[in-house]
Amino acid sequence: CIYLVISLLVSLILLGVPFLFASNSSTYPEKLSAYECGFDPFGDARSRFDIRFYLVSILFIIFDLEVTFFFPWAVSLNKIDLFGFWSMMAFLLILTIGFLYEWKR
């Protein structure tokens, strides 16, 4: 319980102290908007997004779930004698097929 209180306190202090030191008068909307050589900002500053970033994120989920399946197996390996070991190896084989496909593409 003390740990929770201390961690909460530390993070709140780190968040709140900059507000004490920031000056309120030197931020106004003109200063905060995008800079385009003195002109008014033309449009949004976003560029075209390559979809491969999203693919990386999706593949991260998939392999993260695979790791999630690994966790209980690793803990209880002495109870599931050989059968459990080989069932995990089958799981790994199926996922390695997917991984090879991903590597080739």
């Binding site: 209980p72 390996l77 599931i80």
Partner: protein
Amino acid sequence: MILSVSSSLALVSGLMVVRAKNPVHSVLFFILVFCDTSGLLLLLGLDFFAMIFLVVYIGAIAVLFLFVVMMFNIQIAEIHEEVLRYLPVSGIIGLIFWWEMFFILDNETIPLLPTHRKTTSLRYTVYAGKVRSWTNLETLGNLLYTYYFVWFLVSSLILLVAMIGAIVQTMHSTTKVQRQDVFRRNAIDFRRTIMRRTTDQISDSHALD
């Protein structure tokens, strides 16, 4: 006390996901919903699943939502004047949801109205847990890979399908990229790559492509 804090925060954040004007605020409240649900799971005694919620849901799925918010130029919502337009249909769906909730909220196990405050609920001790208490991970691991291994392998197939599906969907656009096949490129006879036609136009055609 933690139950009431977590669950109330979860409800409020869930409401704010829908109501927030800025889409980034929406995603942040979404993350808060998962945090609170993770806390609720901790109270149920499912410590493994609480941590997995944090890692998988927040670390991966909320990041996915964040990507979507980043990618598309979602303007800050200006349609908040027309919210009453959706009231009939959404009201019906909400009422159906509440009606189904009342099937679960049996007053014996999950008290809805504070009528039985005086009576203490029966507590029973699981003595097997006092001899050797198994962690969540151990119990899962003991059963998942031996007795229920079929479902485990089915889940691996589902993950495989998801992986290949995602790759096929996105690699569609990059397969149109022209690649050089080095061996073919070396095998072309240079004398015959440019052919002059009988008309005046000189067209450049690769003989083997």
